[in-house]
């Protein structure tokens, strides 16, 4: 059993999709059992004995267990399916042999999530999978269900199946797998046997531990509390508790760095703070106003801004021009009814392009044509020109090159110097260490410790991030 680790965007899913025949590699070769193969479709993958269990179930939820199992058998048959495997009795005995004791007539959508996950695995096995690739198989499972899944995977491995588990949960890699590969920025950052590795080494490889660039961060007294969060609880899309009893007091003129391995509730926290997700308990106070359930525009008018983690999906409208994107959060545009002041908008855009050094042919170019770094500068220009009092920056340098990253860092520190209260959410430990006044560590939806960013023990930080020390 091999664990493939890495943060979001490290290239795990891309690799899985190449193996599954969804993407094609530009260069390089794949080989199965020593023979070089070309996998150009899901059907090719199945033919070579590769079974992929995707993060989102690939089951037809309105069909029965039996029909879902038969699907791949039918798909592979040019005319009539192989009766010995298609027959209901064959499916039934296969499922019984794998201790899946659910009537095959049950509709899949009615089954609990844990059983659906097991059915996914069994389905790929039944279709002839020898090599199983599971993309974040425990994302929707409770810890008990996850343990059960790994026990079953272990027994499959003993029977000679090769199993790859893609995850960003370190414990799963260390406890349940034999070997570990860590991806970072699309390259292999670490590879080794699970028994020789520690959670800290993995965390270091995942988030990076390069030399810190010295940034001109001046010490200064933090101002009044601009954002106060107390007892916040938030659920994720699957209804699981993503955030538990989080308290934050964010002061003006400080950067609070939220460190943690991806998937420990950072996204849900940011969404709740910005107003995109409703908390189940607790309170959020912005400039002494209770905004716990207020919509986004109310928070904006109180001076809150957000740099979303994914600029292309939620930060920008890629078919809008640079100037149109630069005014996207302008209150008049989002709420009021009036004439569009084109001249003013273009003047503002020209100034922003110069000030933020946005490399674009002109203000009319659509943002989709810009490079990632320049797209992020557009987001940054829009957000910072609003002179926010509270700024939530989620993974603000993800996917950017060194120069663009440095630029973003400088801009954030300038905003801090102007008195903005900044919550920096990043899975890049170097970034947090370079920018933050205080560091809060998130693990499994809770802030496990908050410390002043001075002479911080990196090893201790790693242990906190992985839950090895509370």
């Amino acid at each position: 059993m091999l664990a493939l680790l890495g943060e979001n965007g490290a290239g795990k899913s891309t690799l899985v999709k190449i193996i599954a025949g969804i993407y094609r590699p530009d260069t390089g070769a794949l080989s199965v059992d020593g023979a070089s193969v070309r996998i150009e479709s899901a059907r090719d993958a199945i033919r070579h004995g590769i079974g992929v269990v995707h993060q989102h179930f690939m089951l037809v939820s309105s069909l029965t267990v039996l029909e879902n199992m038969q699907l791949g058998i039918v798909a592979r048959a040019p005319i009539a399916p192989d009766r010995s495997r298609y027959a209901a009795s064959a499916v039934r005995s296969f499922l019984i042999a794998h201790e899946f004791d659910v009537p095959v007539e049950r509709i899949v959508g009615d089954l609990p999530v844990g059983l659906q996950q097991r059915l996914e695995v069994l389905k790929t096995l039944y279709w002839g999978g020898q090599i199983l690739v599971l993309d974040e198989p425990t994302a929707t499972l409770t810890p008990d269900q996850a343990d059960d899944l790994f026990a079953r995977l272990r027994s499959l491995a003993k029977r000679g199946h090769a199993i790859v588990v893609v995850t960003h949960k370190l414990s799963e890699a260390l406890v349940h797998c034999d070997r570990v590969i860590v991806l970072r920025h699309g390259r292999i950052a670490l590879t080794g046997n699970a028994q020789d590795l520690t959670a800290e080494r993995l965390a270091e490889a995942i988030v990076g531990a390069g030399a810190l660039a010295a940034l001109g961060r001046t010490e200064g007294p933090a101002g009044s509390v601009a954002l106060k969060v107390s007892g916040l609880c938030v659920k994720d899309d699957y209804g699981h508790q993503a955030i538990r009893d989080v308290d934050i007091a964010l002061r003006r003129g400080e950067v609070l760095g939220l460190a943690g391995v991806d998937g420990n509730g950072q996204t849900e926290l940011a969404e709740a703070l910005y107003g995109a997700r409703r908390p189940t308990a607790g309170a959020i106070q912005l400039q002494d106003v209770d905004v716990t359930t207020s919509p986004i525009h109310v928070r904006q008018s109180l001076g809150m801004r957000d740099i979303p983690p994914d600029r292309t999906s939620s930060g920008l409208i890629s078919r809008f021009s640079v100037w149109e994107n630069l005014m996207l959060e302008d209150h008049a545009l989002t709420r009021r009814w009036e004439r569009l002041d084109l001249a003013k908008a273009k003047r503002g855009a020209a100034a922003a392009i110069t000030e933020f050094d946005i490399r674009t042919p002109n203000a009319d170019t659509t943002c989709g044509r810009l490079s990632g770094g320049n797209q992020q500068k557009v987001v940054l220009a829009r957000v910072l020109n609003a002179k926010p009092t509270v700024l939530i920056a989620e993974q603000p340098t993800r996917g950017l090159d060194v120069r663009a990253t440095a630029y973003v860092h400088r801009s954030l520190l300038e905003a801090r110097a102007r008195g903005a209260a900044i919550l920096l959410i990043s899975s890049d430990l170097d970034e947090v260490a370079a920018l933050a006044d205080r560091i809060a560590v998130m693990f499994r939806g809770s802030i496990v410790d908050t410390m002043v960013n001075r002479n911080v023990d990196r090893n201790r930080l790693g242990r906190l991030m992985t839950g090895a020390e509370a």
Binding site: Q300, S318, F320, T360, P361, T365
Partner: protein, 355 residues
């Protein structure tokens, strides 16, 4: 410095190509449709060039033909806008036909009761907007697919019109269900009397200008376009996505209602059973071929107006049945869909690969 210069010239050349692309696809689709139409005409034993010539002469060669072309263009402009405005905010208004039918009904009812076209026009705007707004409300706040709801509402609206002309608004003793001639005071005045071009044509032109201004020169239009292109980012920016969607349906429905009113009060001067020749549906095609842009809609509506107005002359002089017209009308859409998907396929693959 040099590299920056060359880079910017290379990049700025791209949008021009994009603009050409925008025009090339509908133009190419229409051309292919005309060529295929010619092949069909030849197969029917007529000379395609002569047929097309007769079509053009019939539509543009005489004062009467020109007037007919203009009058036939107006409802297509309205209907095209009725589909295009919601389209800009990401909604597909298949219901322009129903909204138009109700607009016609309200205009006729107002004409009978008030002897005043202004009341009819306003009433039709409100009726169309409310009918579309119902589907918009269901979509925006309750997630009901607007394609399905507007199709269903079309049937309901057509049923209501039938009920009205067979019942309360129907003329006693008529051989088919109709309101009979509407009072002369309630009809739209002519703006060009000697060509019998009614005021609705001017309103259609105004509607084009207003729609363009709304979409590209007001904050609400900006919001509509933002929601249409990326609802997630729009929501993230503080825009109320549901109310913007609802607004765009109101505007679209208003244009459709006006289309019906102008047709009833400007051309037909009565409301009869089966009075609409499906402008609402043609409007979908017009909006689509016109790129949901008022300028494009004007061009496409005019093109369709020409082939509609010239059809009878073509049939009269060359014997080619006018039934060829719907074929030429429909085919461009088929090819445009083909072009658009063919064009977007490699680039989406590329984009997916780049993620």
């Amino acid at each position: 410095m040099l590299s920056r210069l060359t880079k910017s010239t290379r990049l700025s050349a791209v949008p021009l190509r994009t603009i050409l692309w925008y025009f090339s696809a509908p133009v190419a689709a229409t051309t292919i449709a005309l060529v295929l139409g010619a092949i069909i005409i030849a197969a029917l034993g007529a000379n395609p060039l002569a047929a097309y010539e007769a079509l053009l002469v019939g539509a543009l060669g005489t004062k009467y033909g020109l007037a007919l072309t203009i009058v036939r263009t107006a409802p297509l402009v309205f209907a095209g806008l009725a589909v295009a405005v919601p389209r800009r905010s990401g909604l597909f208004n298949i219901g322009a036909e129903g909204q138009l039918q109700l607009g016609g009904l309200v205009a006729a009812a107002a004409a009978l009761t008030h002897q005043n076209f202004a009341v009819g026009l306003l009433g039709a705007i409100v009726a169309g907007a409310l009918w579309a707004g119902l589907a918009g409300y269901l979509r925006a706040w309750h997630g009901v697919n607007e394609v399905i709801s507007t199709i269903m509402l079309n049937s309901v609206a057509i049923g209501i019109v039938l009920l009205a002309v067979q019942g309360p608004l129907g003329k006693q003793g008529a051989t088919y269900p109709t309101t009979g001639a509407l009072p002369a005071d309630s009809l739209l005045p002519f703006v060009i009397p000697d060509m019998r071009i009614h005021a609705g044509v001017a309103l259609a032109g105004l509607a084009l200008l207003i729609s363009w201004w709304l979409l590209f020169r007001t904050t609400i239009g900006y919001r509509m376009r933002a929601v249409g292109l990326n609802p997630v980012a729009a929501h993230h920016a503080g825009i109320s996505v549901p109310s913007v969607m609802f607004m765009s349906m109101l505007v679209g429905g208003a244009w459709a209602g006006l289309a019906g009113a102008c047709e009833v009060l400007g051309v037909q001067n009565q409301l009869a059973q089966d009075w609409s020749s499906g402008w609402g549906y043609t409007g979908i095609v017009v909006a689509f071929l016109g790129g949901s842009h008022p300028g494009g809609i004007a061009l496409v509506a005019l093109f369709y107006g020409v082939i509609n107005a010239g059809a009878s002359n073509m049939q009269f002089t060359t014997g080619v049945p006018g039934a060829i017209v719907p074929v030429i009308q429909g085919l461009p859409v088929l090819f445009l869909v083909l072009f658009v998907s063919w064009r977007s396929l490699p680039s989406t693959r590329r984009r997916r690969l780049a993620v």
